[in-house]
Amino acid sequence: MFSARSLRRLRKSLNPVRIAGIIVVVAIIVLTLLAPFLGLPDPLAQDISNQLLPIGSEGHLLGTDRFGRDVLSRLIFGARVELVIAMGATAVALVLGTFLGLVGGYFGGIVETLSMRSVDVILAFPPIVLALLVVTIYGTGASTLIVVMGVLFAPRFARLTYGQVVSIRGMEYVEAARVFGSGPLRIVGTVVLPNVSAPLIVQAPLTLATSILLESGLSYLGLGVTPPTPSWGLMVADGQRDIVAHPSLVAVPSLAIVVTILAFGLVGDVMRDWLDPRRGMASQL
């Protein structure tokens, strides 16, 4: 993977904007990992006598909300929640989608009908509506969100895998493996999967970005993370009441959502150009 050619492609895929994106992603991950050791105030601790402090107040760099909770602390601990849910959802989507695409594409026939048509069923629903439905039935909470969003995002991996598998299943090296007497599971696992994995890895950060957006949206609507757990979507919803007098309460978490999604999108672009050159040639930011 790290051959000289690969490194050359990596260098070619970078530009200042994309490097900034990578720095932001690394910074977010480091901050969320180190959050408990940064000496931040407890994100849940209320102090009504210090409510609605402006940005730059002493001890509260980004001010406080209407409960007197530290905004910076809620932002960073909120990022933890966002990332855990988004990564969980992406992992579920990756595993489920790849499995459906692999078996559907390799075996064809009834297996393909079952796997790919169930993917069509998921795609037939607008994502937010389906998420609303499931969350309303099963209640809010992080684990529900991970499963729901994982299922919602599985089709993009399933279709990607399916297309790749169909195009390589007749290739000579697959044929060769069959001639040597490998069983279908072995062929799918050791021959087909490694040859279709690059676009899937590229898809992961993009799905991560979409997950963050959807999670924020659901939390904003009161259907995501359960308060008082900090979450960016919840922070936007809470701040909305004070938008006239204290616009920063909405602006800060909104900006965090925008920057994070953009950064993950840029990382996705880098990985596409690096690992999946055939798809990457077309666009260069």
């Binding site: 849940l44 601790a45 209320q46 009504i48 409510q51 209407r66 409960f67 007197g68 309303t136 209640g139 809010t140 609507l221 009161g222 259907l223 359960t226 308060p227 008082p228 919803a237 809470d238 009441r241 004070d242 938008i243 006239v244 007098a245």
Partner: protein, 523 residues
């Protein structure tokens, strides 16, 4: 470039000039006007309302939006004036017997429903009997179930007999819920879009607006100064306020608390706030729950920091209520009992230990994410409960789900906001006893408290009644059927051209639409 900007200026002038001339001539806005002797009046009132009303059911309606429409479309025997005093409406006058068990209502001459049919004592009898039937689901059923009979000696007279004395009976009949309804309203659903009120519903645009026009047959039509009322629904508080600020509305209900100062700082607007509905916690006290223990409930009532609730959920626009919710101006107010639950965390911890829960317990705190102030109230009391060992998980679904869960007992502690039907303390009965409901503790029943409340209705007005309700309040402090938090300020905002409208104090704020009869809007 020069030519084009010159052309633009000319066009602007061409458009503005006639408008200026026209408005200068007529001296009025965009709607019709009529000369009423004392200056020009605008005969169209535009109201920005906080919620849609899908189904108008006068006997059951609660809350700002539906009750606003009820006061405009319907009318009962009695009503309220701007001070919250009971005044005659369809009934010109009434007599009471000495024991407060027999009320004789004298209807006005020539009353008509909006569909043109006559309104007689027969309609009064049918309406009151409907409200007293258990399947009507009427909001004042608890009071009306005491109805013995309604006699109609003639078309103008209705004699109402009660099984037990009730001093406050006229106040209940003044509520919108006791509107006299036409025949077709007595179905199981109780829907009635037409009644005997000052305005007739002309057009409904579901979820968007209502158009009403003056009812020429209304008994007090001479005092109705509006030919039309248009009601536009703005569910979002800031959007509603923006409509008022932009001049798209003359009156708005339910001003968001965080916007009070914005309205007050605008000299063209009037902020009319009254201490109104009250926020409280209620409990699931079914068998086996720690909350079935009276000491645990006392501990909770003593543990909560009510100032924090007022500041965080209501931007300070609420007054602390640390006892039964009886307003300070009421003759039944007792300073000591009204502060019976003043915060005392040490005593609360001690009570928890005495109850055998020194290590605390886990509980589900039910609220709703649909109303920010409900969720914020829950978030504000959460750390207070934690301080005495009650570790709560917030359950914050949409409002309809919250109501269902509360009615079915799927919670441990719930945040609620409610108002009594009347300002008379007899309203308390609705919050301590009766079948399972979404606004009172699940499984709670205190026979002694029920007896004290019944005694309050029969006590002679004056010192006896005050003493009776002192006993009620003391019992509530002890058994904690609910833990009061704050009385929130409920405000209307309107243009200063609107006169005569007023926010009726106390729990009657949602009846304020009554005062639109007689109100005027200057052009």
């Amino acid at each position: 470039m020069g030519y084009r900007s010159g052309l633009k200026k000319w066009l602007v002038a061409a458009v503005i000039a006639p408008v200026m001339i026209l408005s200068g001539c007529s001296g009025s806005g965009d709607s019709g006007s009529l000369d009423a002797g004392s200056g020009e009046l605008n005969t169209t009132l535009r109201i920005a309302l906080s919620a849609d009303v899908a189904d108008l059911k006068p006997s059951r309606d609660q809350g700002a939006a539906a009750m606003m429409l009820d006061t405009l479309i319907h009318r009962g025997l009695l009503g309220y004036d701007g001070n919250g005093d009971v005044v005659p409406a369809l009934a010109e006058s009434y007599d009471v017997n000495e024991t407060n068990t027999e009320f004789t209502f004298h209807l006005r001459e020539g009353l008509k429903f909006q569909d043109g049919s006559d309104l007689t004592s027969e309609n009064v009898k049918k309406t009151l009997e409907f409200l007293a039937s258990s399947d009507s689901g009427a909001k004042i059923f608890a009071t009306m179930s005491d109805l013995d009979s309604v006699e109609t000696p003639d078309a103008q007279t209705a004699v109402v007999k009660l099984k037990n004395p009730n001093v406050a009976f006229p106040a209940y009949l003044a509520d919108t819920t006791a509107a006299i309804l036409p025949e077709e309203a007595f179905s199981a659903e109780g829907t009635a879009w037409s009644g005997a009120g000052p305005f007739i519903l002309e057009e409904t645009n579901p979820g968007v607006s209502f158009t009403l026009k003056k009812n020429p047959d209304f008994y007090d039509a001479a005092n109705v100064n509006f030919e039309d009322i248009t009601i536009t629904i703005y569910a979002d508080g800031q959007a509603r306020l923006n409509a008022l600020l932009a001049g798209d509305a003359d009156l708005m209900d339910f001003v968001p608390w965080e916007s009070f100062s914005q309205v007050e700082s605008n000299s063209d607007l009037v902020l009319d706030g009254q201490s109104g509905p009250w926020m409280y916690l209620h409990f699931n006290v079914s068998n086996g729950s720690p909350l079935a223990n009276e000491k645990v409930r006392q501990a909770i009532a003593l543990a909560v920091n009510r100032e924090n609730v007022a500041t965080s959920a209501f931007s300070g626009q609420a007054t602390v209520t640390a006892g039964a919710p009886i307003a300070e101006g009421s003759e039944f107010y007792n300073a000591e009992l009204a502060n019976g639950w003043s915060q005392n965390v040490e005593k609360a911890k001690q009570l928890m230990a005495e109850a055998g829960y020194a290590d605390g317990f886990d509980a589900v705190l039910l609220s709703s994410s649909q109303y920010a102030f409900h969720q914020d109230t829950a978030l504000s009391v959460q750390p207070d409960l934690e301080a005495i060992g009650i570790r709560t998980t917030l359950d914050s679904p949409d409002w309809a789900t919250r109501q269902q869960k509360a009615a079915e007992g799927q919670y441990d502690i719930a945040v609620a906001g409610s108002a009594g039907v009347v300002n008379d303390p007899s309203f308390l009965v609705n919050f301590v006893t009766g079948p399972a409901a979404n606004n009172r503790s699940y499984g709670f029943d205190d026979p002694e408290l029920n007896q004290l409340l019944a005694a309050g209705l029969t006590a002679a007005p004056g010192a006896d009644r005050v003493a009776a309700y002192d006993a009620v309040q003391a019992r509530i402090i002890e058994t904690v059927p609910f833990a009061s938090l704050v009385a929130r300020t409920q405000a209307f905002a309107y243009t200063n051209k609107l006169t005569g409208f007023s926010n009726i104090p106390g729990f009657l704020t949602f009846e304020s639409g009554y005062t639109l009869v007689g109100a005027k809007l200057a052009a």
